[in-house]
C-alpha cells in the first residue's frame, strides 16, 4: 500500500529530480527535447503515487496484486524506453562518425596532393601547418556555448 510516508518521500524525490533536470537544461548540459521526456516521466510517476485511485485501477487493469509493483513496472518501462532511445542515437552517431572519418581521410589525401603540387612548383614554401589541434579545441569550446 502507498502510505502517506511513502507519498511524501516520492514527492520529495520527484521535486529533486525536476530541479536537477531543469538545472541541467539551464546550464545547457541537457537538450530541451530530452528534458521533456524526463520531466514527463517524473510527473507521471508522481501522479501515480499521489492519485491512489488511478494507481489502483491500473493495478487491477494489468492484473498485478500489489500497487507498488505497478510503480516499479512503469519505472522500469520508462528506463527501458530511454535506453532504447539512446541506443538508437548511438547507432546514428556511429554511422555519422564513420562517414565523417572517411571524409576527413579523403580531404587529407587531397590536401597532400595539392601541397605536393605546390611544393614541386615553387620550392622554398613548404606550406606552414596551421596547427589543427588548436583550431579544433577552439571549435569545441564554441560548440558548448
Amino acid at each position: 500500500m502507498i502510505t502517506p510516508r511513502v507519498e511524501r518521500f516520492a514527492i520529495v524525490i520527484s521535486i529533486l529530480l525536476i530541479l536537477v533536470v531543469l538545472d541541467m537544461v539551464r546550464r545547457r548540459r541537457l537538450r530541451e527535447r530530452y528534458s521533456l521526456v524526463w520531466l514527463f516521466a517524473v510527473v507521471a510517476m508522481t501522479a501515480l503515487v499521489v492519485w491512489e485511485r488511478l494507481l489502483l485501477s491500473i493495478t487491477s487493469l494489468i492484473g498485478a496484486t500489489d500497487p507498488s509493483s505497478t510503480l516499479f513496472l512503469f519505472g522500469i518501462l520508462f528506463a527501458l524506453m530511454i535506453l532504447l532511445h539512446l541506443s538508437n542515437k548511438v547507432s546514428d552517431f556511429s554511422t555519422q562518425l564513420r562517414i565523417l572519418a572517411k571524409e576527413v581521410a579523403m580531404l587529407n589525401a587531397q590536401l597532400f596532393e595539392v601541397r605536393r603540387g605546390q611544393s614541386t612548383r615553387q620550392e622554398g614554401n613548404p606550406g606552414k601547418d596551421a596547427g589543427p589541434g588548436s583550431e579544433r579545441s577552439k571549435e569545441a569550446k564554441e560548440g558548448r556555448q
Binding site: 554511422t95 564513420r98 572517411k102 581521410a105 579523403m106 587529407n108 589525401a109
Partner: protein, 242 residues
Amino acid sequence: MTRDSRILIVIPAYNEASNVGKVVEEVKKEAPSVDVVVVDDGSVDATADVARRAGAIVVKLPFNLGMFEAVRTGFVYADRKNYDIAIQVDADGQHVPSEIGALVSPVTEEGFDIVVGSRYLESRGYKTPFFRKCGIRLFASLTSLVLGQKITDTTCGFRSYGRRAIRMFARYDSAEFRDSVGLVILGRAGLRIKEIPVTVRERIGGRSTISIIKAFIYPFDFVLSLVAVLARKRLTVPGGEA
C-alpha cells in the same frame, strides 16, 4: 573501355608497415599503369609512410574503422576520381599481383560488375583451419542460396569491382555491406557476380587480425545482417556524379 580503363588498386592496411611496402612495389611492378591507394585504417605504426615511399597514394583514416570500411574508403576515392575498376588487394601479401589481370578482364570484356577471387574453386594448396572452413562453407552456401548462384568463397579479399559496384559501395552507407552480405546486396541490386580461382599465399609477416571473440560472433552477425538485408527494400545503383 577495354584497354584504357582506369584502374585503382585499393589496399586496406592496419598496422602492416612490415608488409605493405613490398605489396605496393609488387603491384606496381606487375601493373605499372594502375594507381595504387593504400587506405591506412588508423594504424599506429609507419604503414602510411612506408606505403607513400613505395609510391602509393595514401588515404589515412583518423581511427580504426575495420577492414571493410577501409576498403569502402578506397571506393569513395575511386568513385570521386572516376575510376572504372577498383581492385581490392590485401596488405599482408597473401594475394598474387600477377593475377590482377584475371580479375580485370571479366569486368572489361564480359560485363561483370564484381569479380570475386575464390580459394576453393580450384584446389591450389591453400589450407584453411577446420573451424574457419566450416564458417566459410556456411556463409558460402547461404549466400549461394539467396543469390541463386554458386559462390564458393565469400570472405576472400581479392576482388575487382566495376563502376556500378563502386558506386553502390561508395554511396550507400550501411554497415551490412561487408563480405558475403555485401555480395547479396549487390546481387539483389541486379549486379552480375563472377567467381574465379585465385592463389592465396601464406602471410609474409605479422599475424592475422581475426580475434577469437570476433570469430565467434561473426556467424551470428552474418545471419542477422542477412535477414536484415532481405527484409529491406532492394537497393538500386545510384547514378550520376559523385
